[in-house]
């Protein structure tokens, strides 16, 4: 069973399914993420040590650092990246990282932009299906 949660804006098209990790705080892949292990490396974050590998990573918006693109592209190359990203406000630096991974390795992850209201509906542990082709977001419910 899947329940349609909301529509969103497809920033990078693609379809993915995974368990959500939701951060209420803004996030930077440069400096807060270990691309070698795929875990959150900021000791001040309450998600410290949490693995993002293969997860649907949900956070409101990016904290800026110009290295984000390179770190995300590297994480995608090493298969340590989330399987999808959901943001309220999508940082172009993030998008460029995905585009470059696609150009180099033909590997990509979908990015979906959602409203603040939709963001509030999402919780760590939710089983989500992201359709960033049609711009739709589903929650999968155990039968």
């Amino acid at each position: 069973m899947k329940q349609e949660l909301a529509t969103g804006k497809s920033i990078i098209p693609g379809i993915a399914e995974g368990i959500a990790v939701v951060s209420q705080e803004p996030f930077s892949f440069a400096g807060e993420f270990d691309r070698r292990t795929g875990t959150i490396s900021n000791p001040r974050s309450n998600l410290f040590g949490e693995s993002l590998k293969g997860k649907v990573f949900v956070y409101p918006y990016g904290r800026g650092s110009s290295c984000t693109s390179a770190v995300l592209a590297e994480a995608i190359r090493c298969c340590n990246a989330p399987c999808a990203i959901i943001n309220v406000q999508v940082d172009p630096i993030l998008v460029i990282g995905v585009l470059v991974a696609e150009a180099l390795y033909s590997m990509t992850i979908p990015i979906l932009g959602v409203s603040q209201e939709t963001f509030r509906l999402l919780h760590t542990g939710d089983n989500l299906i992201i359709d960033a082709v049609a711009g739709k977001l589903y929650r999968k419910e155990s039968a």
Binding site: G64, S69, A70, V71, A73, E74, R77, I96, L99, Y105
Partner: protein, 415 residues
Amino acid sequence: MRLRDDERKMLQGYHGEGVAIAMSVMVKLGQIYNAEEMIPISMAHIDGCVYTLGQAALDFAEKLADTGARVCVPTTLNMGARDITRWQEFRIPLDYAQGCQRMEQAYLKMGAIPTWTCTPYLQGIIPHFGEHIAWAESNAIAYANSVIGARTARYGDFADICAALTGRVPKFSLHLSSHRRGEMLFKLPPANRIDFNDDSLYPVIGYIVGSIALDRVPVIDGIPKNITADQLKAIGAAAASSGNVALFHIIGVTPEATTYEDAFQGKEPVDIIVIGEKELHETHTRLSTVEEGKADLVTIGCPHASFTEFEQLNRLLARRRIREGVEFWVTSNRVVYSWLEQTGLLESLKSSGIKVMTDSCILSGPYIEHWGFKLAVTNSAKFAHYAHKQINVIFGSLEKCVDAAIKGEVRKSET
């Protein structure tokens, strides 16, 4: 987004695969921002040329270079991860140096100028007022937009070289006059209450402004007109570290803020922040992780030191030698370095025990881990901000840095 014929041809591969990839990245960037069209740029500064970011960054540079793509505007390079001529002296491992070299070669093959500095504006290849450029490196972006009045968005890794290869950027962000309007007003205490000759004041002001403004455009009021280029550099670097400040105005100083009305484009600020002496003092203190200790690294030149800063350092050293066991590193670029050689300043600094590192940056290479530094003393808020995670830091004026180097320690009463 509307594309002109020549832009569409780039996208379709008429100019090779590298340019096509670069154009597709630029077009996507424009689409996300709902840009109506592209605009030509006349200069680029590349930040993605540092070999610390992993294999993907190297793969991207080599892939573009291998397609034969070349930059179509004058393109300067940010610092890399090693001092290209003296890397062994700074204990860079061979395999790491080889990685750096591949990265350097890729960007040089694409026709970039080997400036290797985060302060391209200190060595002569600079834009003019109102010129559209694509610069990366947050302190350089802040300086170009704010002090020179050139126009660049916050470009980062990959987008920077894509702009250099296509000579185009989306018409968005700080390229548009409306986005350059001041949004928040920061008021400083009067000149009789704070010491504007204290060089540690400027990074502190920048740090406070950045941490409150985040990505809005701050306007600072109350700074003396005779503020120096080094002090402006320190404000921008700090504001771009604690926040995402890419443009700031200083009333009566920076070119788009000759008056209050100019700075806010005839509108009113959305917020007015009064910075008191207390906040200045607290922020100064907060930039240090400890109050005292035995210093094993003293470092200035973040962003890269100007010739004037070397002169001040030499004057403060007054021919004294720094203490055994302390490393004193100044990071800068080769243009400034050649001036140090020509004037004899380099010899003087060396005889005091100072090491000058060019082409590189302590935080961009594996220096701290390879030297095992525990406590760094610096006059840079940017260095203090980013070094926190790796090492203890004490922040202070240039004079404090010199004092720490001579004594080999900082005592609480002195910080």
